[in-house]
């Protein structure tokens, strides 16, 4: 008989060792290219926070001087998502920039229709990075797909000299430089890095809440080595993103077997082939979460995931599926924990699945909050106010 040195999975300790990473450190290559005059690297501004990625490399996350690369899906359809990110920055008194010199990354269209090409995609990314650099801020990417796509673009620019040359030429004709950020940072990484400061300012107890987490595919599957991992979270066997933040807020995070599955968004499918998105989202995500974890809420960190997981439940309900699970972004949950208004800031009326039972469970007077929001709307309707301001939202 042959004895194999087999240990039980639970006895295995997974040690992260950056020296054993199967890939090169892209940042070293970036700085080398900068030395050779091929591009300019945008440094992470100080002070920054340090987190660990999949193979134990350090990733720098800026505290402030962040240029908010907004998401078209968030701003267009679930605007409380981005509003909550800004609210958190304001609550900490941080210097941030909400630009109008910004286009979307256009990657949603690229992944949906292929009506673009690598040069155009890279040029759009670098144009946005250059816009951030010109005003002295560092890009913070709101959308999971923009984040994943920009990592791919950065990777391609480092490894494909011809692409670099083409994009440099395009930028020159726009009067801009080929600038590449030292780190590509997703807002949820900023939220995670700020989690202890958020928890210090927490005013709403969430210890009676159970949540499931859906990590966005384009966050941890594209250039996977750049996602945040932590040996305290799932033994660093999967990304710590969102989970680490929720745990710091005292939320019980429950596991479920289809955590690796996508949400069903599909890029093309959510727009013109939604039968797939609905079925996948309900059958592979929401129902499994309900059956295995029965959470109060599911929390994710990307535009498409919030939309698909939330909106797909309408048809699921009509088919008597196990649905009825509110969906929010981590930025919304973090802002809520710090006392942000559920409608003026989180803008939960843009979400579909009933989230009132969740809000009531954490002690929020839903009717009063809605009446306060409606009062603001009345002022706008009657012409007494043009817009609701930050001051109105924060009072």
């Amino acid at each position: 008989m042959i004895h194999l040195p087999v240990t039980k999975a639970s006895e295995r300790i997974f040690k992260i060792d950056p020296d054993k990473a199967p890939t090169h450190d892209l940042k070293e290559e970036l700085f080398q290219l900068e030395k050779e005059g091929e591009l300019e690297v945008i440094r992470v501004p100080e002070p920054y926070m340090e987190v660990k990625t999949k193979y134990g490399r350090i990733k720098k996350i800026p505290v402030e001087k962040t240029w908010h690369h907004k998401s078209c899906g968030q701003c267009g359809h679930i605007p409380g998502y981005s509003t909550s990110i800004f609210w958190l920055n304001r609550a900490f008194g941080l210097d941030y920039f909400d630009p109008t010199d910004q286009t979307s990354c256009t990657a949603w269209n690229y992944y949906a229709s292929a009506t673009s090409n690598p040069e155009a995609q890279a040029a759009v990314a670098i144009r946005n990075f250059a816009a951030a650099h010109e005003v002295g801020y560092f890009p913070l990417i709101h959308c999971g797909t923009s984040f994943g796509h920009y990592k791919e673009v950065r990777h391609a620019l480092v490894h494909q000299p011809e692409l670099r040359r083409k994009v440099r030429d395009i930028m020159k004709r726009l009067g801009k430089k080929l600038v590449v950020p030292e780190e590509v940072v997703h807002y949820s990484e900023w939220v995670l890095a700020m989690k202890d400061r958020i928890a210090e300012r927490q005013v709403i107890d969430m210890s009676n809440i159970t949540a499931t987490v859906h990590p966005a595919c384009h966050y941890h599957k594209l250039i996977e080595e750049d996602a945040i991992y932590d040996s305290e979270i799932y033994g660093a066997q999967r990304s710590a993103i969102i989970t680490s933040t929720l745990k710091a807020l005292g939320i019980n995070v429950a596991d479920y077997s289809t955590w690796f599955d996508c949400c069903g968004f599909g890029f093309r499918h959510i727009l013109v082939s939604r039968d797939f998105s609905r079925s996948f989202s309900v059958q592979r995500k929401i129902e499994v979460m309900k059956e295995e974890a029965n959470p109060d809420i599911t929390v994710t960190h990307d535009t498409g995931c919030v939309t698909t997981l939330d909106q797909s439940q309408v048809v699921g309900k009509a088919h008597n599926k196990k649905v009825g699970l509110p969906v929010m972004a981590d930025s919304q949950v973090a802002a809520l924990a710090m006392g942000a208004h559920p409608y003026k800031v989180l803008q939960l009326h843009w979400h579909n699945t009933d989230n009132k039972p969740f809000l009531r469970k954490i002690g929020i007077d839903v009717d009063k909050s809605w009446a306060e929001f409606e009062a603001e709307c009345e002022l706008i309707k009657s012409g007494k106010k043009e817009y609701m301001t930050w001051e109105d939202a924060e009072k």
């Binding site: 701003c75 286009t103 599955d261």
Partner: protein, 236 residues
């Protein structure tokens, strides 16, 4: 019900072998190709991770095998009948051979679009308004797209949003979000720079490949705004 995938040899007998070879060569000529295809163990790990494989007769393994074996007849069939089922989630990047079936599919889709394959046009039917939005405004989706006829399966909620849209947009604290036709307020100069990128990278040729009418409208809009900004640029 999703249709069964028909992979009979020479299914597209009306297309010459030379044409099939040419399209495959276009895929191979893509700069990404050598970074996304290394061979295939035929292990099926990509299929196990693939959401589309659960709902369609679709297999990233079949696609990886076909391209690795350079079976250009099968590649042509898959380029027509399979690639548009992919969700572009990149769960298949787990491939132990280092392949990215999802990116192989991205390249195959680009070749299908560039060459104006009818199946690409069909797959993108109804998608034109989105392309119009992204190309002309730099924002893929916008508040005014939240209309009941566009999202009938989102229930009563989308009616409520459509009815309250103007007021609810004004009831957003960030000043950049008081917009209806774009996700946020975008500077004129930014849009012009975007149009110049479209022009310099030739992406309008891709649009022409799949929708001539859409191409015409987009070119009109862009040329006019570019002219107003002092650029004398023609897309054709």
């Amino acid at each position: 019900m999703p249709q069964a995938l028909d992979i009979r040899q020479n299914k597209y007998s009306d297309v010459s072998q030379e044409e099939k070879d040419r399209l495959f060569q276009e895929c191979k000529d893509d700069e990404r190709w050598s970074h996304i295809l290394y061979g295939c163990y035929e292990c099926g790990i990509c299929v196990a991770a693939c959401p589309s494989a659960r709902f369609y007769d679709f297999s990233p393994r079949l696609i990886a095998q076909a391209v690795a074996r350079e079976d250009t007849d099968l590649v042509y069939t898959l380029m027509n009948d399979s690639v548009w089922d992919c969700s572009q989630c990149f769960s298949c990047d787990r491939c132990p051979r280092g392949n990215s079936p999802g990116q192989i599919i991205t390249v195959m889709r680009e070749v299908a679009v560039k060459n104006g394959l009818n199946t690409a046009k069909e797959a993108l039917e109804g998608y034109g308004r989105i392309i119009y939005k992204i190309m002309s405004t730099g924002s893929q989706v916008s508040p005014d797209m939240l209309q009941p006829n566009a999202f009938p399966d989102w229930g009563h909620h989308v009616h409520e949003i459509a009815d309250n849209l103007e007021v609810w947009r004004k009831a957003l604290p960030p000043e950049t979000l008081h917009t209806i036709e774009t996700g946020w307020k975008v500077d004129e100069k930014t849009i012009i720079e975007l149009y110049l990128i479209w022009h310099m990278t030739g992406v309008m040729d891709l649009i022409l490949g799949i929708d001539e009418g859409l191409h015409m409208i987009l070119v009109d809009v862009m040329e006019e705004r570019l002219e107003e900004a002092g650029y004398d640029i023609e897309f054709d």
